[in-house]
Amino acid sequence: MNASARPLTIAVTGLNATDNPGPGVPVLRSLRDGARPGERRIGLTYDALDPGVYARDLADRVFLLTYPSAGAHAFLDRLTSIHERAPLDVIIPTLDAELPLFIALEPQLRAMGIALFVPTAQQLELRGKAQLAALGRAAGIDVPETAVVASVEDIARVDGKVRYPLYVKGPYYGATLATCREEAIAAYYRALAAWGGPVILQARVRGEEVNLVGVGDGKGGLLGPVVMKKLALTDKGKGWAGVTIRHEALVDVAARFAAATRWRGPLEVEALRAGPTQYHVIEINPRFPAWVHLATGAGVDLPRVVVDLARGETPAALPPYEVGKLFVRISLDQVIDMRDFERIVTTGEIAHAATISASLRVRPETTS
């Protein structure tokens, strides 16, 4: 059977469905909702306790990955080993920190027959927190005043330009509100310790947070934009409930970004609405957000679009999304057999169909 005729195997990273959830589980749920006959889903993750590892109905198999910090060589070795065990057709990376490595390895992965649909290194840099303000000026997108700092002395140099209160942000995740220079310095060291540099100071702007998810087609077009307003937040500011809303002004902002960068891959625009048509873009994430399954539920299956584009196919025409669709997240306990945990810890792999059969075999007999 040739590669194009056999059923697809799609791998998805980021199964850390915690209170700061990675997007892997919702991406897998979207792919499951629209699964094609015979298609297989593979989970790729970094920690044996990532909750998505044990969600048996989402992925046929799950593999542990080598952390990106181990370097490109070790990372590619691990992907090659996984590819030998379960030949992959497409990988959808979902985490910011791993994306530079996947981008760098795209040619090697393509040579192995594994397709990605990710931005270029240059595109990734353009939307980085450190570059976002410059991109905003070039593309006519309103971005709060931002400064990149490389030292404590830099904070003293720029905090007259970006006035307090301001946010101190690491390159990937997290934002701490600082009301004075002392708080900014403390937050600077915390961000540096957690993620490394650069650290960004961003002026606080007020408004109602609205987010957009979509896919850039790599030619300047934006596919399937869906806008969501958060209705409930965790103490980390993560959306715990949200609703799709109609907002053409934000779609227009995202379309201008996609056109200016010729964005290739998924994206999330985080914005604050200051008026009916006025937005401040606070971040553009180069990946799917954790709420992407809401878009699928509203009629726009964006992970499937990425699979099609990665394989060089034209995605099916996308319908307009349904406005007024809600998501409400749930926290639940998965009860796991120690054998499952043992498998993933000792072999770095778990095959759910086999595990279920095994657990049935070892179930103690009941007495009547």
Binding site: V243, R246, V323, G324
Partner: protein
């Protein structure tokens, strides 16, 4: 009539969803009648007509019905659902 008022999704139960902001509201049967009249084109400043619509359905409505309708329109205005320039005329 404002475009936001026209865009509202209003159910028979009085549950209202604003698709532009994600906000949800509840109104009672009286509010539903007033909203329906506004969406049919009755001017928000014409609270006399709005009150008459309510009284058609609820003949036993209290004598100060007009004030209640004015309060309701004021609330809609504060929420941006009725244009601020439309002043109440009773």
């Amino acid at each position: 009539m404002s475009s936001r008022l026209a865009d509202l999704a209003i159910s028979d139960t009085g549950f209202i969803f604003d698709p532009g902001t994600g906000a949800t509201f509840n109104v009672n049967a009286t509010g539903l009648i007033a909203l329906a009249a506004l969406r049919e084109g009755v001017d928000a400043s014409d609270t006399g007509t709005l009150a008459a619509r309510v009284r058609e359905r609820f003949p036993a409505a209290p004598p100060d019905l007009g004030e209640h309708v004015s309060d309701f329109v004021r609330t809609l205005r504060q929420m941006g659902l009725v244009a601020a320039s439309e002043r109440t005329r009773s």
